[in-house]
């Protein structure tokens, strides 16, 4: 009984929603069946026509104008362009048609007031017929692929005014002449034509349209019909998202799905890290390279505030003409996220959950304990002095430890999302509750997140006043990862035990009281100690609230004001145990605790005035003016102490530590505050003529506090135009092109992603001076001030083609050329006269060019089986055009790796960025094999001589690879068979090289007292090499190209009455990587000037197995 009631309630709420929709969009365009009274035949109707050599179409139009008859025909079968000549006075239409049929081999049948036109099939047929067909009444239900009824589907008889729409339950009834062909259409679904025959019940399943041109996309400050878009905007909505686990960031939804947008899991399986994204290449040196994220209209909104499950759609503004409306921060593109909102009349409750577990995607293979033992024994007795020398220091501690296994856990992560939405015509709501508990592969790492989200929309005064409220609160507890762990895991001797429980090993122990088996040495802590003796807990709360008031003053003129407040409050706790390796070996800290708090507040006020109007029905205008104010205030506080009596307090009693009271702690307390503001005015005009000739222009004038007093304001203009060729007459009968549009756009965007206050002359605390016997704190300049600091600006030209072939294949091609000028960078300046070696200034430029293809299709659509493939690929080439101007002169940048010292490479630069050359060049010596004595050799500059690396210099180096992939692609396939769905997504990056730092550091036999990769033993060159150093040459540069099986998921929709959708699925992520790269995983950092290299500090790459359930009432 209750169930029944519930179901009825659900149906009712659904009906209300659809009732609203139908009223809004459909009913007004539908006409009732006018009935068949007083119908005349073509024999009774007389016409006078005088056409000489006119087209068949013109003939039809004239007849239609002079009579009540309509011609119906199939464009594909009837050539409307063929010429006819008709010179008849007051003749019956029947006779006229007979005359025409002789000229063009057509056959006319009058059915009621329609005249069906067909090609002549057989000569014997009568050229003109009158079929006095009986009307029959057809009824049925229209449903979608999931079996859900679709209300509001338009059912029409082409060429007539006969039509109706489905009701709330998806049912329809319509009286039509026998043998008619009905056309079922609905926005977002593929239109279907069905011949009635003599059936009286016709149930129809509509497929979602992959390339719907009536679809609306979100653009900056508004929405636009896909067909009217003139810039490069990629758009994904919920149905395009991957159907498996999403474990790192909402941006993972975009992975491999948008041409030109590179998404990289550079941080492997680290649950506390996000993914890296980069649009259309490296466009800045030191300014921000990440796209601006706009969350529900709030620029810079935090992704942390948005669970992936609550995202409705994502728009990516790729080119300058689209992004320029967001001027300032749009250089790297704009990603607009729209979250779900309530729909009137529909009450929907959804619950989705999934569980997943992670494993090494590719566990690195180091020498095992057994192998270590046998190598030692073999080499100890070798004739080769070198091998004896290698074996001598190898120590067999008698245990067998797989360090990669020791540090991992097989945790089960879980995600739950509960949402409800609905509302009346005046008030709509969406609320959700999201819980994610993520357990990382490495012990103690993980993240747990709780999000509550509420969105309300209320309208008053017949919809003229609209109030919009969005609240989202997220609470996060994260346990991050320490890169030093992996260094030790790679290094550690596999015969060592984990714990200090073997008394026979006491002579090796450096800290006999410790729980872990620890030895001394350089950077040699036990990795389990690094996990268990450290507490790292970062807690944060993110609040994002926005309110918007819109008012429609006159039809089409809407003014709105939006205010938003975002608050990120974070406290990071860190405690290092008294017993940690570093505590007793390096710092003598006796327990080390710190607590760091930060508060980031961001306030936004944006007001816009938008006016949409039409002139003469053909000229469509949309004009926008707006103002934007955004202020961000950052505050920080931190305190630390060391030397505690016991580990008990951790960070809960900092005052108990002794080091502050002993006066031997340099800076135990610190705090800071800074702020910046952005203020802008903007305007945009969109115009189109008959949706054929499209034009858009925008201008944003924006000011940032970060720049010099005279350079705070910048102008960011954009223009774009489009030509929908398919809207032209001559294309109207094209069988190939359903839609064809050319676009061209040009836009200027900016970048202000640099620290605050760089243009000012500031003094900051620095050092102490012994003055009259007392230590006086000093204040010294914070930076070389640059009052001329100004905007980094990118100008971009974009050509695009959007094509829809055969109604179900859509292809988009974009070509772009973007140049960033006045690059923000810390340029090297001469000392003196400058105080610091580097000054933030605007010098030089970078160019990126590329081409992007994306194809979406419905490859197969049969009764039970559909296949939607989509493929995208992009190619980018970039170049540092210049690094100099009148004041600053520099021809190249030489960049060292962070932490290079650990690899014995401190001060060694690895990347080189030169004028006229691409970014990401790996600049090393060229490996030249080994000498007879096993010495490492490299080529000299002229390739004439093989020399020792110790004799080689910088001039002998060359470009031996490039770390920036030239091409990214993604291939996504969705198969639906009855109730089963299967999604397979591949993605990859091509044409780049990777520096295998781990191999470089460990692949020498003299590293063996610790451990080396198994691979080394298969490299005769290394095995016999007497070189004791890791020389930086091309030997370590490997091809990085890869293809990944990014996501595969298999789902089953269980048809249960009363539940509108119930789907269960299993899925796997990153299950397979095809690559020639010999390290763990070639997917690495892609952002900035120091791209891909594989080193110790990364969290291991993981593959994920998940199982989930979605249920919708």
């Amino acid at each position: 009984m209750e169930k029944k009631l519930l179901r009825q309630l659900i149906m009712l709420s659904k009906r209300l929603m659809y009732a609203f929709l139908i009223q809004l969009f459909m009913c007004t365009v539908l006409f009732a069946n006018t009935g068949n009274a007083q119908r005349k035949t073509i024999e009774e109707v007389k016409v006078t026509l005088n056409l000489e050599g006119k087209t068949l179409l013109q003939f039809f139009r004239q007849v239609e104008a002079k009579t009540d008859f309509k011609f119906t025909y199939n464009d594909d079968l009837v050539d409307l362009g063929q010429k006819v000549t008709v010179e008849e006075k007051n003749r019956s239409l029947y006779q006229v048609l007979e005359a025409v049929s002789r000229q063009v081999d057509l056959h006319f049948v009058q059915v009621n007031e329609n005249i069906h036109v067909k090609s002549v099939i057989g000569r014997a047929e009568q050229a003109v017929e009158i079929a006095q067909l009986a009307d029959i009444t057809v009824s049925g239900t229209v449903t979608d692929n999931n079996g859900e009824p679709i209300p509001g589907v338009t059912i029409s008889l082409p060429g007539t005014t006969i039509g109706t729409a489905t009701g709330l339950d998806g049912k329809y009834t319509l009286t039509v002449p026998e043998g008619s062909t009905l056309v079922f259409s609905f926005i977002g679904y593929e239109t279907q034509s069905i011949t009635v025959g003599d059936r009286s019940v016709i149930d129809v399943v509509l497929n979602e349209d992959m390339a719907s041109l009536d679809e609306v996309v979100v653009v900056g400050y508004g929405t636009q019909k896909v067909r009217e878009v003139t810039s490069s905007i990629a758009h994904l909505d919920e149905s395009d998202f991957p159907q498996g686990a999403v474990y790192q960031s909402p941006l993972q939804l975009l992975s491999g799905r948008i041409a030109g947008l590179a998404v990289s899991r550079a941080n492997g399986g680290d649950p506390t890290a996000g993914v890296e994204i980069q649009l259309r290449g490296v466009s800045s040196i030191r300014g921000s390279n990440s796209p601006l994220v706009v969350v529900d209209g709030v620029p810079g909104g935090s992704l942390n505030a948005i669970p992936p499950e609550s995202i409705e759609s994502i728009s990516v503004l790729r080119d300058g003409s689209a992004a320029a409306i967001y001027g300032t921060r749009a250089n790297a593109g704009v990603i607009i996220i729209t979250t779900k909102q309530g729909v009137p009349g529909s009450r929907e409750i959804t619950y989705s959950t999934y569980l997943y577990t992670e494993r090494y995607a590719n566990k690195p293979k180091m020498v095992s304990a057994a192998k270590y033992r046998s190598l030692k024994n073999e080499w100890m007795n070798s004739d080769d002095a070198y091998l004896r020398e290698i074996a001598a220091p190898m120590v067999d501690y008698g245990h067998d430890t797989d360090w990669f296994d020791v540090i991992t856990q097989k945790g089960i992560s879980q995600v739950h999302n509960l949402s409800m939405s609905g509302g009346s015509e005046n008030t709509r709501y969406f609320g959700s509750f999201n819980f994610r508990d993520q357990k990382g592969l490495i012990k103690q790492t993980g993240k747990s997140e709780l999000n509550g989200k509420l969105s309300l929309i209320h309208t008053e005064f017949d919809g003229k006043l609209k109030l919009n409220l969005n609240l989202s609160n997220t609470f996060i507890t994260a346990n991050p990862f320490d890169g030093n762990i992996m260094e030790q895991v790679y290094k550690r001797n596999p015969t060592m035990p984990v714990y200090n429980t073997d008394p026979s090993l006491n002579s090796y122990l450096y800290n006999p009281n410790g729980q872990f088996f620890e030895i001394g040495g350089y950077r040699a802590p036990n990795p389990m100690g690094l996990i268990e003796q450290f507490d790292r807990e970062n807690r944060s709360a993110v609040f994002l609230g926005s309110g918007k008031v819109s008012f429609e003053f006159i039809p089409g003129l809407v003014g709105s004001v939006m205010g938003a407040y975002e608050r990120l409050n974070a406290t990071n706790n860190f405690y290092e145990s008294k017993d940690s390796w570093a505590s007793w070996n390096e710092t003598q800290a006796g327990g080390s605790a710190s607590k760091t708090s930060s508060l980031v507040e961001s306030r936004t006020l944006e007001s816009t005035l938008n006016y949409d109007f039409q002139l003469n029905g053909d000229h469509n205008f949309s004009a926008l003016v707006g103002y934007s104010f955004q202020e961000q205030v950052d505050e920080g506080f931190s305190a630390a102490n060391r030397t505690f009596l016991s580990d008990l307090f951790k960070t809960n009693n900092l005052g108990a530590g002794l080091q502050i009271s002993r006066g031997s702690f340099v800076t135990p307390v610190s705090s800071s505050k800074s702020s910046n503001r952005l203020i802008a005015g903007f305007t945009r005009v969109n115009y189109n003529f008959q949706e054929k000739y499209l034009f858009s222009a925008s201008l944003r004038r924006e000011g940032s506090t970060r720049f010099g007093a005279d350079n705070k304001w910048g102008n960011f203009p954009a223009v774009s135009a489009g030509w929908r060729i398919s809207g032209e007459e001559f294309m109207s009968d094209s069988r190939v092109f359903t839609d064809l549009k050319l676009r061209v756009g040009y836009g200027v965007t900016g970048n202000q992603g640099i620290p605050n206050y760089l243009s000012l002359s500031r003094l900051n605390r620095s050092g102490f001076m012994l003055y009259q016997g007392d230590w006086i704190p000093g204040y010294s300049p914070s930076s070389n001030p640059n009052p001329n600091l100004r905007w980094e600006k990118k100008s971009e030209t974009n050509f695009g083609i959007d094509v829809v072939f055969f109604k179900n294949i859509s292809l988009t091609i974009d070509l772009y050329d973007r140049t960033t000028k006045d690059l923000l960078f810390e340029y090297r300046v001469p000392v003196p006269p400058n105080i610091f070696e580097r000054t933030w200034a605007n010098v030089g430029s970078i160019n990126n060019r590329g081409i992007e293809f994306s194809v979406n299709a419905t490859a197969i659509s049969k009764d039970n089986f559909t296949w939607y493939p989509s493929f995208n690929i992009s190619f980018n080439s970039n170049k540092l055009v210049s690094l100099s101007n009148d004041l600053y002169e520099q021809s190249d940048l030489r960049l060292a790796l962070p932490n290079a010292g650990v690899f014995g490479l401190s001060d060694e630069t690895i990347y080189r960025v030169e004028e006229g050359k691409p970014i990401g060049n790996i600049y090393t010596w060229e490996h030249a094999g080994f000498s007879d004595q096993g010495q490492w050799l490299v080529w000299n500059a002229t390739n004439t001589e093989r020399i020792l690396p110790t004799e080689a210099n910088y001039e002998d180096r060359r470009v031996t690879g490039n770390g920036v992939p030239k091409s990214w692609f993604g291939l996504n396939n969705t198969f639906v068979y009855k109730e089963f769905d299967l999604q397979v997504s591949l993605r990859g990056a091509l044409c780049f090289e990777l520096l295998n730092m781990i191999h470089l550091h460990r692949a020498r036999l003299n590293m063996l007292p610790a451990n080396i990769p198994v691979r080394t033993l298969d490299e005769p060159a290394l095995l016999n090499s007497t070189s004791l150093q890791n020389y930086l040459d091309s030997y370590w540069v490997e091809k990085g190209d890869y293809v990944k099986l990014d996501n595969i998921s298999l789902g089953y929709t269980i048809p249960i009455k009363g539940v509108s959708n119930l789907r269960v699925y299993i899925s796997g992520q990153n299950l397979l990587t095809i690559t020639k790269y010999k390290g763990e995983d070639p997917e690495h950092s892609i952002v900035g000037l120091i791209p891909s290299h594989d080193d110790y500090w990364n969290y291991p790459k993981t593959k994920t197995y998940s199982a989930g359930l979605n249920v919708k009432f």
């Binding site: 070198y386 020398e389 001598a392 220091p393 001394g520 040495g521 350089y522 040699a524 008031v549 003014g559 070996n585 390096e586 710092t587 003598q588 800290a589 007001s607 080091q659 002993r662 031997s664 702690f665 705090s671 505050k673 800074s674 702020s675 203020i679 000011g703 506090t705 605050n756 206050y757 000012l760 500031r762 003094l763 900051n764 050092g767 102490f768 001076m769 230590w775 000093g778 204040y779 010294s780 914070s782 300046v829 001469p830 000392v831 003196p832 006269p833 400058n834 004041l887 600053y888 014995g904 490479l905 401190s906 001060d907 060694e908 690396p949 210099n953 910088y954 007497t1026 004791l1028 150093q1029």
Partner: protein, 524 residues
């Protein structure tokens, strides 16, 4: 709503608000702030030993110390250490630019402060004159270091340069080097009368009159090298002024000069003060971290293990008389936990007892055939380690020892040297007495091991300077003055063919890249 639209459109204020720093116009409001402004100029002196600083430039290039590459690959360091020791550095070799930048930082800080003090109308005139004189000598000290390292460097003595101004050095190396020499000399002469003549805790670590005189002694001693004209009498005159002042005395205990509380040494003329809590800086690196072994913590009573980087050149340690107390400033032999007979293990590569061997041989098996052990491929324990600076266990990761820059023993030996050189390299009794003053302390007995007029030669004086002043950043300067640096022929091989331009460093390539007015030094 219209109102709010209108209101919001009117806000276009982009004035920055600075919260955690001073904007320059809000500073220098009182004397305390003026002193605080001067502090960074002194704090920046700590960088004399930053980025390896004088360790790699003045010691590792000589017959005393070497940056060792260990057999496990440790401290290969891109080959830079080896290049310094082998005299094969180039303008791109690491660390050279650090030294340039740090020395010019002193110059820049002084220029900036002198300019800013001039802008303060309310500042006491006497105080202003004293501060400006002090900063001028600090700047001269910067130029002395630049002269010593690079020779012909651009002289910038003002802060308010035109925008876009970039300085130039003299196209002629010798002329340019002389200009720098003359600039320093004039700065000392012009400012000496405004400098504080007192020596007490209030002037400790500051550029007072005596520091300026010591700087002058150093300058004149090297005048022949830098200008081609010897100035021995000028050096002697300034040295006499210091010696005769009676304000400075040799400490009875040689190691008092390097103790944690070495600010109490009466021998200090100028030291750079370090504090374990306040100053930061790299004193702990200098004291023990750079050279001691990872496992040395319990053997030397350090708060942490070392990095096993630098070690002594064997000939230097072997040259000491076994009774010379100064030999105790080198740590070699088996390493025991303090106060016990327990030997610690070296355990990075080999788990065997740690033993700092003076020679770089293999401690396990002796040299295997085909494997040469030297500083480019040294066993973990190879090399004696500097130990003259006292280690303070309680200092945490920092160290509180002050860095002695000029001490009386140096001045005494320099005066003796000037006397010898004036006398055609032949000793006088006055010179012998000066050297013996220093030497007798080293043997704890005023009557033995003394030199005589016949045994004191320039050669033995240079040797004496090595024994007395090792690991204090003087050696490269001494060897050049004695004509033995670029001609260096010491363990492990002969550098003498590398050319006389090795007597100065090249101008760092990155500076030339950013400043087209700089002309590279000859030979590079």
């Amino acid at each position: 709503m219209l109102i709010s639209l209108t209101v919001s459109f009117s806000c276009t204020d982009l004035t920055e608000e600075v919260y955690s720093e001073f904007s320059s116009d809000k500073f220098y409001q009182n004397e305390e702030q003026v002193v605080a402004a001067m502090a960074p100029a002194y704090a920046s002196l700590l960088r004399l030993i930053d980025g390896r600083g004088i360790l790699i430039h003045e010691e590792q290039t000589t017959d005393i110390l070497v940056g060792v590459t260990r057999e496990y690959g440790g401290w290969y360091d891109g080959g830079h250490s080896q290049k310094f020791h082998e005299h094969t550095w180039t303008s791109e070799t690491g660390y050279i630019n650090n030294f340039w930048v740090h020395a010019y930082d002193w110059v820049n800080q002084a220029n900036r402060l002198i300019f800013q003090f001039d802008q303060l109308p309310d500042m006491d005139e006497d105080l202003k004159a004293a501060f400006k004189a002090e900063l001028s000598i600090l700047r001269a000290f910067g130029y002395y270091n630049l002269l010593n390292s690079f020779g012909n460097v651009p002289i910038v003595d003002r802060f308010d340069v035109e925008p876009g101004f970039i300085p130039a050095n003299n196209p002629n190396f010798d002329a340019g080097r002389m200009e720098v020499f003359n600039f320093i000399e004039k700065e000392i002469q012009d400012n000496i009368s405004n400098l504080n003549p007192e020596v007490n805790s209030a002037t400790y670590g500051r550029f007072n009159k005596w520091v300026a005189l010591a700087l002058g002694v150093k300058l004149y001693m090297n005048a022949e090298v830098w200008t081609g004209t010897s100035r021995w009498d000028d050096a002697i005159a300034l040295a006499d002024e210091i010696i005769d002042s009676g304000l400075f005395h040799l400490e009875a205990d040689y190691f008092a000069n390097f103790s944690v509380t070495n600010e109490n040494s009466k021998e200090n003329i100028f030291a750079i003060p370090f504090d374990q809590a306040l100053t930061g800086g790299n004193m702990s690196n200098w004291v023990y971290v750079m050279h001691h072994h990872f496992s040395s913590q319990p053997t030397v009573g350090a708060p942490r293990g070392g990095n096993n980087g630098t070690a002594a050149v064997p000939t230097h340690v072997r040259s000491f008389d076994i009774n010379d107390v100064r030999l105790k400033g080198w740590n070699f032999g088996p390493q025991y936990v303090l106060g016990t007979n327990t030997q610690v293990n070296q355990s990075f590569v080999r788990t065997i007892p740690l033993n700092f061997t003076i020679d770089y041989s293999d401690p396990l098996s002796g040299a295997e055939e085909g494997i040469i052990y030297d500083y480019r491929n040294a066993p973990e324990g190879a090399g004696a380690r500097p130990a003259k600076f006292e280690i303070n266990y309680a200092a945490g990761t920092q160290a509180a020892n002050d860095l002695p820059v000029y001490r009386l023993a140096d001045i005494l030996l320099l005066k003796a040297e000037a006397l010898l050189r004036k006398n055609g390299g032949v000793a006088t009794q006055e010179a012998v007495d000066l050297v013996n003053q220093v030497r007798s302390r080293a043997f704890g007995d005023p009557n033995t091991h003394l030199l005589t007029v016949s045994s004191l030669t320039l050669e033995s004086l240079l040797q004496e300077r090595a024994w007395e002043l090792y690991y204090e950043g003087h050696r490269r300067n001494d060897l050049i003055r004695f004509g033995k640096f670029a001609q260096g022929d010491w363990e492990w091989y002969d550098r003498s063919g590398h050319g006389n331009h090795r007597n100065y460093f090249p101008i760092p390539q990155v500076q030339i890249n950013t400043n087209p007015n700089l002309i590279q030094n000859p030979g590079y």
